[in-house]
């Protein structure tokens, strides 16, 4: 049953060094506040899995939290490269990063397989592609009924999945809407799930087919308003495109990246303090 707690306590209680950690959110509802807390608590040797490791994983990788990355598209959406990811892959900084890469259809199916308690997922892909040559987790199988060749990939079963959602009620039932990505599958595939939300309300007032994660599927719920920024929370705030662009310059050099992490994350106590530092460092006249 979900415990309603602080983000600091939830990450300390549920994320351990060496875990397979999924922090999902497809452009929308990316759990940035939780990512910062993982950095703040200096978690190490994590295997990070995420379909689109954008700026959130660039921060975790550059801060030295990760030994391995499982992913299907690694870029800064609408801007360009993830410089910390590239520095780790191309030059082993701050430490070597093993990568295991897939396609989106593949990885989203792998979460479905995890949630379904199946050992693997299958799909129509990769015939003729070089990806299976460099990822021994992509294999081909024969359909026992038709003889067709299909790709098979192992299920993703995270130790912990972290997502951000719009609302929870006081029991810890979680409601999310808009672009849902693989959040539901990633939660149901994991041993434990931590959810940050924009607000905790008395009544979710959700229609019957809404995407709800019942409280008993979630270990911890933390109220962290703004916790998906600089990504967006549908119905609450928009994507901060300027930050994604600014990140390109911050992350390009090791020194500017380290200074940013030090000032904004390591020297702040929680996400509210981080938000205050961000507000203080904006040029006058900019939101």
């Amino acid at each position: 049953m979900a415990e309603i707690t602080t983000l600091r306590e939830a990450i300390a209680a549920h994320v351990r060094d060496g875990d397979l950690l999924a922090m999902e959110g497809f452009t929308h509802l990316i759990p940035f506040a939780a990512g910062h807390e993982v950095i703040r608590q200096k978690k190490r040797n994590l295997t990070l899995v995420r379909m689109t490791p954008d700026v959130i994983y660039d921060q975790l990788i550059g801060a030295g939290c990760a030994k391995k990355l499982i992913f299907s598209w690694g870029g800064n959406p609408g801007v360009g490269s993830l410089h910390r990811l590239r520095d780790a892959v191309e030059r082993d900084w701050p430490q070597p990063l093993e990568i295991q890469e897939h396609g989106h259809g593949d990885l989203s199916n792998a979460y479905v397989a995890g949630a379904s308690n199946l050992p693997f997922a299958m799909l129509r892909a990769y015939l003729g592609s070089d990806l299976p040559k460099h990822n021994d987790k992509i294999k081909f199988i024969q359909c026992p009924f038709t003889g067709e060749t299909l790709a098979a990939v192992p299920a993703v079963r995270p130790d912990v999945t972290v997502i951000h959602a719009q609302k929870a009620d006081r029991k810890g039932n979680v409601l999310l809407w808009g672009i849902l990505g693989v959040q539901k599958e990633a939660v149901l595939a994991a041993r434990k799930a931590v959810v940050t939300v924009e607000e905790i309300v008395d009544d979710l007032q959700a229609p019957p087919n809404a995407c709800i994660l019942p409280a008993w599927t979630v270990a911890a719920v933390c109220c962290v308003p703004g916790g998906a920024a600089p990504s967006y929370a549908h119905g609450y705030y928009e994507r901060d495109n300027r930050f994604y662009q600014a990140w390109d310059a911050i992350a390009r050099e090791r020194e500017t990246f380290q200074a940013w992490i030090e000032k904004h994350i390591l020297q702040t106590g929680d996400f509210a303090e981080f938000q205050q530092v961000m507000r203080d460092s904006r040029p006058a006249g900019v939101r």
Binding site: F26, T27, H28, M51, T52, F71, S72, W73, G74, G75, P77, G78, V79, G80, S81, L85, R86, V89, E90, E101, H102, G103, H104, G105, D106, S108, N109, Y111, V112, L123, R124, A125, Y126, L127, G128, S129, D130, L131, H134, E148, T149, G178, I179, L180, G181, V182, K184, E185, Y232, H234, E238, R239, N241, R242, Y244, Q245
Partner: protein
């Protein structure tokens, strides 16, 4: 801007947009494909169905999305489904007519690389990776590719085959029993190419106005072939240009000055 009053990028986007028929179900990559698909929707193809891999089906964004999961895609869609559902029911289920993709590198059989430049384990340049392209390349009814032409992008041999076009040509796709027909057109800032019916090798079928064969040869890493009946691409019309420019201007304002990556 050339003397004709439009840029080569605009010519490329317009030429790509024209390939999308009204009513087609189109799986759209971010960047250039998304720009061209929305131009098609705002000109000759108002009933085109745009699917983005983040989950929106039938998106009608008022401005171009900066990312593949922008809120305006969800707000304007006919429905929003989960990402696994997009790939399982809609793409693999055979409901996508056209996969519309970009690439960093392409070869003569329209196989594409979006993974690495150089060696995989010690890459010279690490690119973002596959995204949904391997599944789109397999399962979309057909594929249209749009990318700027240069000898660095149009290479004799790919450093990495991320997503298949026509493999080594001929009937290779059919032999592998791939569900979709594969690439049917490549649109660049210089020309249009189509696979030869028999060999599947890309052949220049239309030069954009003012472009010479020599320019195309210089910008291609293999001995590029030209169709016997080589056409000239019709220049963008005033309507196409004004709709495209309005869309891009609205987009710049909406994203607070943040530009749309179009290549």
């Amino acid at each position: 801007m050339n003397p004709a009053g439009y840029t080569t990028n605009e010519m490329m986007t317009v030429a790509a947009a024209r390939l999308l028929r009204n009513g087609a179900v189109c799986f759209v990559g971010i960047g250039l494909p998304s720009t061209a698909a929305n131009l098609a929707r705002l000109t000759h193809a108002p009933d085109i169905v745009l699917i983005y891999e983040s989950g929106p089906i039938g998106a009608k964004p008022p401005v171009l999305p900066l990312s593949i999961g922008d809120g305006n895609l969800a707000e304007t869609a006919d429905t929003v489904v989960s990402t696994p559902e997009i790939f399982r029911y809609w793409l693999q289920g055979g409901r996508v007519d056209v996969g519309f993709l970009g690439a960093a590198q392409i070869d003569r059989f329209a196989n594409i690389n979006t993974t690495v430049i150089g060696d995989y384990s010690r890459p010279a340049t690490r690119l973002p990776g596959a995204g949904g392209a391997p599944e789109i390349a397999s399962c979309a009814g057909e594929v249209v590719l749009v990318l700027k032409q240069s000898a660095r992008a149009f290479v004799n041999k790919l450093d990495f085959v991320t997503s298949v076009g026509h493999l080594d040509g001929g009937d290779a796709r059919a032999r592998l029993r791939l569900p979709g027909k594969g690439p049917v057109a490549v649109v660049t800032d210089l020309c249009m190419m189509n696979p030869d019916q028999r060999t599947k090798e890309l052949t220049v079928t239309s030069l954009h106005p003012g472009v010479t064969r020599e320019q195309v040869r210089q910008a291609t890493g293999w001995q590029i072939r030209f169709a016997e009946a080589l056409q000239e691409t019709p220049a963008p019309t005033d309507t196409e240009l004004s709709v495209l420019r309005d869309l891009e201007a609205r987009t710049r304002i909406a994203h607070g000055g943040a530009g749309v990556v179009s290549a």
